[in-house]
């Protein structure tokens, strides 16, 4: 096996947005490409609408399943507030792909806490890296007729930066989804790939 550069990905969002499936698919793609992988998710009580995070580590040899702070190569945030909750994990000049979508926490609805403005979100992320991509994932997934395709759309976005073949992504997606959803999700994946070309902030 030739030497393989390490790739650490952090997927964040709100419980129910499909983070775990997305991180499973990345793991399968990396396995097929001959990498070592460790990945870890939030399960149980915490997932009920709470802040969730998945760590995916890919390299020639991986020991710890949790990524160290400041070493994330790719931050994939399914929700804006959750992107900055984990911003300190992003390494300098790492890539952040943020779904331009807000799910205000209950405390915000009740007027106890504030949701950050877009400017604040960008300010926090830009302290870490200039490579910020704000994508309209929820909008595109809704346009496709199924908001649940957001996770596959996000995979499409990050796939542009990763050294894996398109066919491997397609195979992993079909492995994890029922056949009736294949076509829709392939479209979502392609849509993510296209989106990333136009949205560098």
């Amino acid at each position: 096996m030739s030497s393989k550069t390490k790739i650490d990905l952090l997927l964040t969002g709100v419980g129910g947005q499909g983070n775990i499936l997305a991180s499973d698919i990345i793991g399968e793609v990396a396995l097929a490409a001959g990498y070592d992988i460790k990945k870890t998710d939030t399960l149980g009580m915490a997932q009920r609408g709470g802040s969730v995070v998945s760590h995916v580590r890919i390299a020639e040899k991986v020991y710890a399943p949790l990524i160290k702070e400041g070493e994330v190569d790719f931050l994939l945030a399914f929700e804006k507030l959750e992107s900055i909750r984990w911003a300190s994990y992003l390494r300098p000049s790492g890539v952040a792909i943020i779904n331009n979508y807000a799910v205000p926490p209950l405390s915000v609805n009740l007027g106890v806490e504030k949701y950050p403005t877009d400017a604040e979100v960008m300010q926090v992320l830009k302290q870490r890296s200039e490579r910020i991509y704000m994508v309209s994932g929820t909008l595109r997934a809704t346009e496709l007729g199924n908001v649940k395709t957001l996770n596959i759309f996000m995979l499409g976005c990050v796939s542009v930066f990763l050294p894996f073949k398109i066919e491997a992504w397609q195979e992993a997606i079909t492995k994890h989804l029922p056949e009736k959803l294949w076509k829709l999700n392939m479209t979502a994946f392609e849509s993510g790939r296209k989106e990333i070309e136009n949205v560098h902030v």
Partner: protein, 606 residues
């Protein structure tokens, strides 16, 4: 063949390939997926047991009868099952018995943090600890062999991070079929723990530990990995991985069996390195046992006793020990803004929401948005809660829970508060699965001791929090078959409760009437609030919308804590992607401003 498996999937597959014939469990994070995975094999018997105590007892019977048996539970499950666990540790086994204890360092989803290795020491049984999915898979075969060879149950201790991390596993394709026959040879001295027999068993248990310690000296998974001699690390479980990452050049003694410990091997390791650091999560279990041997090691003065470890924590310990140069601390940019917290919540459309809203209202706990004083004063009602999704009713805005300790404790706690003389109305709130797990015996206590509490059973017909497992009240088995169904109201009436009502969890007025009637009785009453979990029945009806002309921003709809109702602007809006059409908000809106999307459109056209 290489597979990407979670620790729990690897444990299940490892047990299956090791010839397990029998599996029992009660759901509990982070252990649940072990049973979910193993129940798929139709050539073994697998059951969700009523609780962990029953799970161990059933598995104990199976192993006595000659079937290799696996029982899995979360760490606090072993508190419930401690009695039979110590019993089978005393009798020993016939076919192998492996108990998986899934500990939860960091308290991701538990009521407390505890290191269950102490139970194995108490019971005098060996502990195996995997470091990743591969060792989880491999250790399972050894666990059954050790159990049979040494006539002991074996504890396999996993943790949340091992159980819920996926890594690559090289799996063998075949299942080892046990040659052991299903048969029971009566042996009173071994299986009937009268004092006279237990006195014979105890010395045998002590002997067994001596033999196991000798076995550990050459056990494949107790291994020295020599690197530089300046630093030697003794580690197990996930801690080994963090230490390996932070100290790539150090020497390691990696322990797969952490009790009893291999003293000679540890002495050999100690003689080869200058300084030893023990890295383990939670209690200094290995560390203290090694110190008793008179070997100098360091550990908990640098490694925290609480919470989950990670590479950052180990690195900082390395700095404190002077092993890692205090490199220019990495610039951590200030976030600069206070981030809104996002704790877990009841889902939109949750059948518990309406009930908690009514209860919180009756107990004067609801505070409108903008209310200055948000503290809850001494209430006319005390709500003893229990364990499940509904524990989330404790959060604002519902504030509808005052106590929560352990499975089934709501009813007993409520009885105690009443008998101690509290004048407030006392309500116990418990879920269906939790009630069947350990709510029945305290309810019997309430009948017997003439308690006047009101018990509410929130029946969503599933074990929701752990991911929707079946239980005795659903009438479906772990393996998907239609089986006996325990009807809650029959149980309640059967133990002698006279005042029993069943209401629909989505009908606010009915719930209010039932609760008021029950509490005004001032004698023991049970109200069963029944409605399907929204994750299983995701759409109730048409999506609801707010008519902005009728809405006067009173804020009452926000008090149910539904995350589908949002107020980014001034007036509340309902997120169409999240609304399930449960109508709870519509039923409580004093202005009639919330309705189905179709009617509101018609009104708009008129």
């Amino acid at each position: 063949m290489k597979k990407l498996l979670s620790g729990n999937e690897a444990l299940a597959l490892g047990a299956y390939h090791a010839g397990v014939k029998f599996a029992t469990a009660y759901p509990g994070t982070p252990s649940t997926e072990i049973m979910e995975a193993i129940a798929r094999y139709k050539d073994i018997y697998a059951e969700w047991s009523t609780n962990e105590k029953v799970a161990v007892e059933v598995a104990m019977g199976a192993c006595y009868a000659g079937a290799r048996a696996l029982v899995s539970m979360k760490q606090v499950g072993l508190n419930v099952a401690a009695d039979p666990f110590l019993a089978v540790a005393t009798t020993g086994v016939n076919a192998g018995l492996v108990l998986i204890s899934a500990d939860d360092p960091g308290i991701h989803s538990s009521q407390g943090e505890q290191d269950n290795r102490h139970y194995a020491e108490l019971a005098k049984v060996p502990i195996l600890e995997p470091t990743d999915s591969q060792t989880a898979y491999d250790l399972m075969a050894y666990a059954f062999e050790i159990s049979e060879q040494f006539d002991t149950p074996v504890m396999l201790r996993t943790t949340t991070r091992i159980s819920h991390s996926k890594s690559i596993v090289e799996v063998k394709e075949t299942r080892t079929e046990s040659t052991r026959k299903i048969a029971f040879a009566p042996n009173m001295q071994k299986y009937v723990m009268l004092p006279i027999n237990a006195r014979i068993r105890h010395p045998l248990m002590e002997e067994r530990m001596v033999k196991l310690a000798a076995y550990g000296e050459t056990f494949t998974f107790n291994k020295i990995e020599m690197g530089e001699r300046q630093l030697g690390i003794i580690a197990t479980g996930i801690s080994y991985q963090y230490a390996r990452e932070v100290f790539p050049k150090a020497s390691f003694l990696k322990l797969g069996m952490t009790y009893p410990l291999p003293e000679k091997l540890i002495r050999e390791f100690a003689s080869k390195v200058d300084r030893i650091l023990v890295v383990e999560e939670l209690d200094p279990f290995i560390e203290e046992h090694i110190k008793v041997m008179g070997i100098k090691v360091e550990g908990k003065q640098y490694i925290p006793r609480t919470g989950e470890l990670n590479s950052d924590i180990i690195e900082s310990a390395g700095r404190k020990m002077g092993l890692i140069k205090a490199a220019a601390a990495q610039e951590k940019p200030p976030v600069g803004i206070e981030l809104a917290k996002r704790p877990p919540l009841l889902c939109p459309g949750c059948p518990h929401t309406g009930f908690f809203y009514v209860l919180a209202g009756m107990g004067q706990r609801l505070k409108l948005p903008g209310a200055k004083d948000r503290t809850i004063k001494e209430s006319n009602m005390v709500i003893a809660g229990d364990i499940g999704c509904y524990t989330l009713g404790a959060y604002p805005p519902l504030n509808a829970m005052d106590t929560n300790g352990c499975m089934g404790s709501s009813i007993g706690t409520a009885i105690g508060m009443e008998k101690a003389g509290l004048s407030a109305k006392i309500v116990a709130v418990i879920g269906d699965s939790t009630f069947l797990h350990s709510g029945i015996t305290p309810l019997v206590d309430a009948v017997y001791n003439q308690s006047k509490i009101t018990v509410v059973i929130l029946d969503n017909s599933t074990t929701a929090m752990t991911g929707h497992q079946e239980h005795p009240g659903t009438g479906v088995s772990a393996q998907g078959e239609t089986v006996g169904k325990v009807v809650l109201e029959d149980v309640v009436r059967g133990v002698g409760v006279k005042n029993v009502t069943v209401v629909d969890s989505f009908k606010i007025k009915e719930i209010r009437t039932a609760l008021k009637t029950a509490m005004d009785l001032r004698e023991l009453s049970v109200v069963i609030v029944r409605g399907a979990c929204v994750v299983q029945v995701p759409k109730h009806g048409e999506i609801r919308v707010v008519n902005t002309e009728k809405c006067n921003q009173c804020g009452i709809c926000l008090l149910i804590g539904c995350s589908a109702i949002q107020t980014t602007g001034k007036k509340p809006i309902i997120d169409i992607g999240m609304c399930t059409g449960c109508t709870v908000c519509e039923q409580i809106c004093p202005k009639g401003a919330i309705g189905p999307v179709s009617r509101t459109k018609t009104e708009a056209q008129n």
